[in-house]
């Protein structure tokens, strides 16, 4: 292939939006450009000599990137910025009107009021518990699917993992409400053993959230395990490692980024959830519920509260990134 095309490929190759049919043949029909020395640079990457793109290419690239960047900048980050900004306003305590009076009382309330600290820690605990449970359940499941099961079994199991995603979130949560009820399936099954189910409350919230987000953990771990070369396992066995040692020293390091990637889903989705809590949480109150109940009454306080999960997620993403889980994205 003409090496001069590498530049365009480098740019457009990362943009699946562009149909390759359109851009590549056009470029190919162009008269051959003089080959440039050095590796083709990418836009905006400092420290490397950027290759001056031709005006037409730049224009096309700009046209291509402007709508998504506008969307990202205005609608997505912009709304977050407005949210954060409104946290610095205040509310008329009687009429619930937002008063545009700059102050930081809401953040002070969120940080100093013990009730919000309790709720934040509880929410964090739920998110961590859900993530751990999902990781523990997903790993053997994904391992079986990727390394042990035959092709037919694997397909069947994949379908089984994916099917719940077709059902609505609310349907699944309400199904659990019915099952966990006083005369529900859970109690009926446990009754002969002399036990009773968790009923509605914090354990039920963890259980249902772990159920809801499990596929988001299984799929990345499955993908990682499927990519794991068989000869790594064979080499490990040949060198005298037992099953546990291979698992610990070969398999786990290979799937750790996938586990972290999955945990981003389970962790962030649990942190923001409030419907499951409403349905099976009983008297439990999590961050999402407090935000939801404050939105109409005290928008600035709700905005300040929303900053808490944002900060937690940023910290978590930073930690995950440090572990190298996002490098392959």
């Amino acid at each position: 292939m003409d090496p001069s095309l590498d530049g365009d490929q480098g740019l457009t190759g990362r943009q699946p939006v562009t149909s390759p049919k359109e851009s590549t043949p056009k470029a190919a029909s162009r008269p051959a450009r003089p080959a440039r020395p050095g590796r083709p640079g990418r836009f905006g990457r400092p420290g490397r000599p950027g290759r001056p793109a031709r005006a037409g290419a730049r224009l096309r690239l700009a046209a291509l990137l402007t709508p998504p960047l506008l969307w990202l900048g205005l609608a997505y980050l912009g709304s977050l910025a407005v949210l954060l900004l409104s946290a610095f306003w205040t509310t008329d305590s009687f009429t619930s009107d937002v008063v545009h009076l700059w102050n930081t009382d809401n953040f002070r309330t969120v940080l100093t009021d013990p009730v919000y600290r309790t709720i934040t820690l509880r929410t964090l605990g739920v998110a961590v518990a859900v993530t751990l449970i999902d990781a523990l359940l997903a790993f053997p499941m994904a391992f079986f699917m990727a390394r042990v099961a035959s092709g037919r079994w694997r397909r069947a199991l994949l379908v089984a993992v994916l099917t719940p995603l077709w059902a609505g979130y609310l349907v699944k949560a309400y199904a659990w409400r019915v099952m966990l009820g006083e005369h529900g399936l859970v109690n009926a099954v446990l009754a002969p053993l002399g036990l009773s189910g968790p009923g509605y409350g914090l354990p039920a919230v963890v259980l249902v959230l772990a159920y809801l987000w499990l596929p988001y953990m299984i799929l990345p771990v499955f993908a990682a395990l499927e990519r794991l070369p068989t000869h790594h396992l064979e080499a490990s066995a040949d060198l005298g490692a037992g099953a546990w040692r291979t698992l610990r020293l070969v398999v786990l390091p290979a799937v750790r980024p996938a586990l972290f990637a999955g945990s981003v889903f389970t962790f962030s989705l649990s942190l923001g959830d409030y419907l499951t809590v409403q349905i099976v949480g009983g008297r439990t109150q999590l961050l999402g519920n407090v935000i939801a109940s404050q939105v109409t009454l005290d928008l600035p306080l709700a905005a300040a509260l929303s900053a808490v999960p944002v900060v937690l997620i940023v910290c978590y993403l930073a930690a995950v990134r440090r572990a190298g889980a996002l490098d392959s994205l």
Binding site: F88, T90, T91, D92, S93, F94, T95, S96, D97, V99, L101, W102, N103, T104, D105, F107, R108, V110, L111, T112, V115, T118, I119, G181, E182, H183, G184, G199, Y200, G281, G282, R283, Q285, V290, S293, Q294, T296, L297, D298, A307, V311, V314, C315, L317, A318, R321, R322
Partner: protein, 402 residues
């Protein structure tokens, strides 16, 4: 290196939040206290004469209040209204009083079926206009007990047309709660008997239920009106509710959820509305609802007109229509409440309806303390202390639920 940048950014964000938290200690504490003086109705003009309909009207209503036959073909009082007046009805269903208040602030709606815990807020913010009752012919037939109440009028001026009323009753499973309770004690001191199976309404206004109980059981607190609590009285109510919290199974705000909770036995005792008791009984749940000896809190809904209504004439036509005897009877039966129009009692398909809901029983409703927005200026007339307002109640409610 990029990792450390992310860490730096996260640290910076945290520091910013911390700084925000500590920084305002000295100066910026103004916010909430700006309106310390209490309640005054802003000067919003009242409509003098009725003109021609504008062709449509945008209303905010409780579910079941503006039925057009799409939920139940037999329940349709929107289409006849449209046919008669030429005003097309655009309905927005609101789930809570707080949602109604925030929807009215958008300025896109002409009229709202506000409950007593929302009305004063709408009046105070200037979002609702006083209503000229002379332009609503059916107003004359409204029960006297609903007119010029503290939650729907200010300075003797009506801010809406009463629609109906109901009490927040005590419901219990007859097979689980014995002997049959006749006091709110069942959900407070006696809550440990049914720990994990007690339920309460999920709203800051539920604090008034605790205050009502304390009003009778701890007279030394001096509570005269469950919606006029000074800080000490609010603290006592909050303490009572925090004790109750340990025994609550779940708080309810969705009436369907409460029906299934009582039917399935997940709740055995707690607050309810008559309509919920009826639905649960219809589904063969062994429940009973009573008005306890201490009395009860309750709600009374009022159709209010937006101060900046784009379609005021159609809004007034709707007000008159919804409280006309026949329609008022239809709504009251569909929803399960006491109608506001005295003549509606003759129009109900169930001749016992008004008796079941105590529609004309003023002595019954004397025992019901209708939801009223708590305000700084004590509603019971005390001037020596400042009362707690709804924002304080909201914060207290978050704290109670912990």
């Amino acid at each position: 290196m990029r990792n450390t940048n992310v860490w730096k950014a996260a640290a910076a964000a945290t520091v910013l939040l911390l700084a925000a938290g500590c920084g305002s200690g000295g100066g910026g504490g103004g916010g909430g206290d700006a309106q310390g003086s209490g309640f005054r109705a802003p000067d919003v003009p009242m409509k003098k004469t009725l003109g021609k309909g504008e062709g449509q009207v945008n209303i905010i209503a409780w579910a079941g209040y503006a039925e057009d036959g799409s939920n139940d073909p037999k329940a349709d009082w929107v289409h006849p209204f449209e046919k008669q007046t030429g005003c097309k009805v655009n309905t927005k269903i609101a789930g809570t009083s707080d949602e109604m208040v925030s929807l009215m602030k958008t300025g896109q709606y002409d009229t709202v079926s506000a409950s007593g815990d929302a009305t004063l807020r709408l009046i105070a913010s200037g979002d609702a206009a006083p209503v000229n009752t002379k332009l609503v012919p059916n107003y004359k037939d409204i029960f006297a007990g609903l007119k010029k109440q503290p939650f729907n009028s200010v300075d003797g001026r009506m801010y809406g047309i009463p629609h109906g009323r109901g009490a927040n009753l005590l419901m219990y499973r007859t097979d689980k709660v014995k002997p049959a309770p006749d006091s709110w004690r069942a959900v407070f001191e006696d809550a440990p008997k049914h720990t994990g199976k007690v339920t309460a309404y999920d709203s800051p206004i539920y604090i008034a239920d605790a205050a009502l109980y304390l009003m009778k059981t701890e007279p030394q607190l001096g509570i005269k009106n469950p919606y006029a609590l000074d800080q000490k009285q609010l603290d006592a109510a909050v303490a009572l509710l925090k004790k109750q919290h340990a025994h609550i199974g779940e708080y309810w705000s969705d009436y369907q959820k409460e029906v299934t909770a009582f039917k399935g036995g997940d709740s055995v005792v707690g607050t309810t509305w008559q309509v919920i008791a009826n639905l649960a009984e219809a589904e063969k749940a062994p429940v009973k609802a009573v008005l306890p000896k201490e009395g009860a809190t309750g709600w009374s809904d009022t159709w209010m007109v937006a101060a900046k209504a784009e379609h005021p004439n159609c809004a007034y036509k709707w007000l008159d229509w919804i409280v006309s005897p026949k329609v008022n009877a239809q709504v009251a039966e569909y929803f399960g409440e006491a109608p506001a129009n005295a003549k509606a009692c003759e129009e109900t398909s169930d001749a016992q309806h008004c008796a079941t809901y105590h529609a004309d029983d003023e002595s019954y409703y004397k025992r019901v303390h209708f939801w009223t927005t708590p305000v700084k200026q004590c509603l019971d007339g005390r001037t020596t202390v400042e009362c707690t307002d709804y924002a304080q109640w909201t914060r207290a409610w978050t704290e109670i639920k912990g």
